[in-house]
């Protein structure tokens, strides 16, 4: 009998049910879309922040103090300590290896460079003092577990733009900074003579680099070339690492050496920048890993803010959806006064009537919530695709939250009119008063 009443109510007034269901579905679609986007946005934005480049820098612990002004190191070539290039594959073996977006070693050598005088020009080329930076571009590193990983300077310095192409790894090629190119007249395809304390090389220019910093005045060449110039085979001086991190919170800022074992494990297994730095230190012996505070702190602050902002927006939209849905389910109960009066006149108790209506609303919530969820997921995909070029992932959690929310909201929305309905006197309602 109970089921028949419910089924009857749906089939007798399909239009009313449809409208309430539609309001519910739309409200829940807002909620779904907002929650999905909010859940997803942190990770996406963290990735976006990697366009700021490296957030960790590794140098040798035993290195002497760099005398660097405006990107030029005024130390004698042989001063300072170096790190072995062969260890770098180990970076992809640390606990948070998948969070390492890219890394690139650097070895800077002060050099004199000049372009070969062209056939037509009679003016002799003047040697220009500059810095040759050896690094990786699209270098494949072999990782101890047998795989290879491709990385390079364009991952750690994504704002560097090369007109032409990057040099090939290990080839006698280079890219030159745009100011350097303007001064020396070096063009793509021209040969560049580089000289540093006895070592001599001729490199083919494959591209013009513009980065807006000291690199605009220097030469960037494969690491092996710089090692040859400096006489430091298989070594580098500085390593840039770009890693996806979690903004440091109160816990993340605590000194790991003072943590209890359980806390230490939690700290170690959270991608805080400091724990990633520690893990890198563990695989690179003799290395000093420093957080580039400027990048890391700015990122942390903004990420935290934006995340809070989006959660609050989500909350606001949830609230609005809940109110709108509640209002429409309240309206659907109010309009059924006559029916309630009749049921009570026929001997139904207030409890039975309330139960019946609640069951109807719940059924509606289930249907509307499910429909709203699929609609919301579509919307979230649309938004995600449009802004980040990647759709948020399906999450079962969101579905259950949405269905639960739909049920609670419809029940709450109908609770007040239902309570009033249970107090109705059947006689005046049936008389039409």
């Amino acid at each position: 009998m109970f089921l028949r009443l419910v089924a009857d109510s749906f089939s007798r007034r399909p239009r009313h049910k449809l409208l309430t269901g539609a309001a519910l579905a739309l409200g829940m679609a807002v909620a779904t879309a907002a929650i999905s986007v909010s859940l997803d946005v942190g990770d996406r934005l963290a990735r976006e922040f990697r366009s700021l480049g490296a957030n960790l820098v590794v140098t040798a612990q035993a290195d002497s103090l760099p005398l660097e002004i405006g990107g030029v190191d005024y130390r004698p070539v042989n001063a300072g300590a170096y790190l072995p290039e062969s260890d770098l594959g180990k970076l992809k073996t640390i606990f948070w290896r998948n969070n390492i977006v890219g890394f690139a070693p650097a070895l800077e050598v002060p050099v004199e460079a000049w372009t070969k005088p062209s056939q037509t020009s009679s003016t002799p080329a003047i040697a220009e003092r500059t810095t040759l930076m050896g690094t990786w571009a699209n270098h494949s590193v072999s990782i101890p577990d047998g795989k290879t990983y491709v990385t390079g300077i364009e991952k750690t310095n994504p704002w560097w733009q090369v007109d032409g192409r990057w040099f090939k790894d290990g080839a006698e090629e280079c890219v030159v900074g745009k100011s350097f190119a303007a001064r020396t007249g070096a063009k793509i395809g021209s040969a560049l003579n580089v000289n540093a304390s006895g070592a001599n090389l001729s490199l083919v220019v494959t591209g013009i680099l513009s980065g807006g910093g000291a690199e605009d005045d220097s030469i960037v060449a494969p690491l092996t070339m710089a090692q040859k110039m400096a006489g430091k085979t298989g070594e580098y001086r500085r390593l840039y690492v770009s890693a996806l991190t979690k903004p440091e919170d109160e816990f993340g800022r605590r000194d790991p050496t003072t943590l209890a074992q359980a806390d230490y494990d939690r700290w170690y297994c959270t991608p805080y920048i400091s724990s990633i730095a520690l893990q890198i230190r563990q695989v690179l012996p003799g290395a000093d890993v420093r957080v580039i505070r400027r990048v890391a702190d700015g990122e942390g602050a903004i990420l935290t803010r934006v995340r809070t902002l989006l959660w609050l927006v989500t909350l606001a939209s949830l609230l609005a959806a809940a109110l709108a849905v509640g209002a429409s389910s309240a309206a659907s109960v109010i309009e059924r006064r006559t029916e309630i009066g009749l049921m009570k006149a026929l001997g139904a108790g207030s409890g039975t009537v309330g139960f019946l209506l609640a069951a109807e609303q719940l059924l509606l919530a289930l249907l509307g919530g499910g429909l709203g969820y699929s609609l919301g997921i579509l919307l979230a995909r649309l938004v995600g695709q449009k802004i980040f070029g990647a759709a948020p992932e399906f999450s079962f959690l969101v579905l259950s939250v949405i269905i639960g929310l739909a049920a609670v909201v419809t029940l709450l929305g109908s609770a007040i009119p239902l309570r009033r309905a249970s107090r109705y006197e059947p006689a005046p309602i049936l008389r039409g008063e």
């Binding site: 934006v306 939209s317 609005a320």
Partner: protein
């Protein structure tokens, strides 16, 4: 005009007769208006606020001498340039430009107690305008104080509070270490002193090596500033630090995109929800319409009556909801950015207008009531 009097009387009666229903519609409309106002206000504010948040990234424009620097202090600029740079107008009403003027010297440094001197880069810095934490280094305030980068401190085994002796080309100075700073950048390898001290050491009074500027605003504002500064000071090279300007631009676009998308999404769907709620209410008006028609009400007049009701409800819901929403957004702004969002007056009328439109649109299905045949309503046929 008995006609008009009757019209308003009916409206009054409609509102007085069914309080519960009225409350439901008002709640739906009010909630919609609240969210609309809060989001609109917050969105305008958050976008502005974001550019302020980027301050954490430090300087984004570098001003250096145009000539090539081939030795540590080869080319320098006049100190007065720093003050003039602050006067280059960006967009009226935008926040001012702040910055630090620097002079680098490679000096020999020694701790008081030992006679061993080690070459270290000494950065003399002077804050030009009200500036924030440009490099994270606490800038020394007077001649007698300095701060040491963490690597310098490690190398020389320095502690805060110790005295440092600096000498270069005959000039000598001493200072007390105020703090050891760590930034992960080149500042870690430097000793920070007051600009005057480094000028004294280098024998270059009134000269600076470069200026680090923080220009606030959207990427377009920064570009404009760089262009006009470069034009005004031909002796200097003004260039944006691409790492930060480009990164900031990208992030700004993404965040403002996601905010706009969320806001539009929420607004459209809120409107649809409110409309669905309104429609539900409109459907149960069959009896009223049937009665009015039966006693001779023209369809147009009946419709006008209900539209007026909807508009009035929209107005009330909008006025109340928008006010609550603006208050809400101020609170939200405080929660997120630590500063209450400034209420924008434009948001208020826009929200009220939107709510009225949604309310009237929600009453749209009433048009179908024109087809109602009074007789069938009275017979109780659904």
């Amino acid at each position: 005009m008995p006609d008009r009097k009757m019209f308003w009387r009916i409206i009054r009666r409609i509102f007085a007769s069914n309080r519960a229903r009225l409350l439901v519609i008002l709640l739906a409309l009010g909630a919609g208006a609240t969210v609309t106002a809060a989001l609109l206000n917050l969105q305008i504010d958050a976008k502005r606020r974001l550019t302020t948040e980027f301050r954490a990234f430090g300087p984004n424009v570098i001003v250096s001498p145009r000539e090539q620097i081939s030795s540590p202090n080869g080319a320098t600029l006049s100190e007065t340039l720093a003050q003039e740079l602050g006067q280059v107008a960006t967009v009226p009403g935008e926040r001012p430009v702040s910055g630090v003027a620097l002079l680098y010297v490679i000096a020999e440094v020694s701790v008081d107690r030992s006679a061993k001197f080690v070459p270290v880069v000494v950065a003399g810095r002077r804050v030009m305008h009200a500036i924030d934490r440009v490099t994270g280094a606490s800038a020394p305030q007077n001649d007698q104080q300095c701060s040491a980068g963490s690597k310098v401190a490690e190398q020389l085994r320095l502690r805060a509070g110790e005295k440092l002796v600096l000498r270069d080309a005959g000039a000598q100075a001493t200072c007390q270490i105020l703090a050891i700073t760590s930034s992960g950048g080149t500042e870690d390898n430097q000793v920070s002193v007051d600009l005057g001290m480094s000028q004294h050491l280098a024998g270059l009074p009134g000269r600076i090596s470069l200026i680090q500027l923080r220009v606030e605003g959207t990427p377009a504002v920064i570009d404009k500033y760089v262009a006009s500064a470069a034009q005004r000071f031909p002796q200097a090279e003004v260039r944006p630090i691409r790492q930060f300007t480009e990164g900031e631009a990208k992030i700004y676009d993404r965040i403002s995109g996601i905010l706009s998308a969320t806001v539009v999404l929420v607004l459209v769907l809120t409107a649809l929800c409110v409309m669905a709620a309104m429609t539900n209410v409109a459907m149960e008006r069959r009896n009223d319409v049937g009665l009015m028609k039966a006693i001779g009400g023209a369809t147009r007049r009946v419709l006008r009556l209900f539209l007026a009701e909807a508009a009035l409800l929209g107005l009330t819901g909008g006025v109340l909801g928008a006010a609550i929403g603006i208050l809400l957004s101020m609170w939200l702004g405080k929660a997120v950015f630590g500063i209450a969002a400034r209420p924008r007056l434009i948001v208020y009328p826009v929200t009220v207008a939107l709510t009225i439109i949604v309310a009237i649109a929600g009453a749209y299905p009433l048009r179908r009531l024109a087809n109602i045949r009074p007789a069938s309503v009275f017979r109780g046929e659904a």
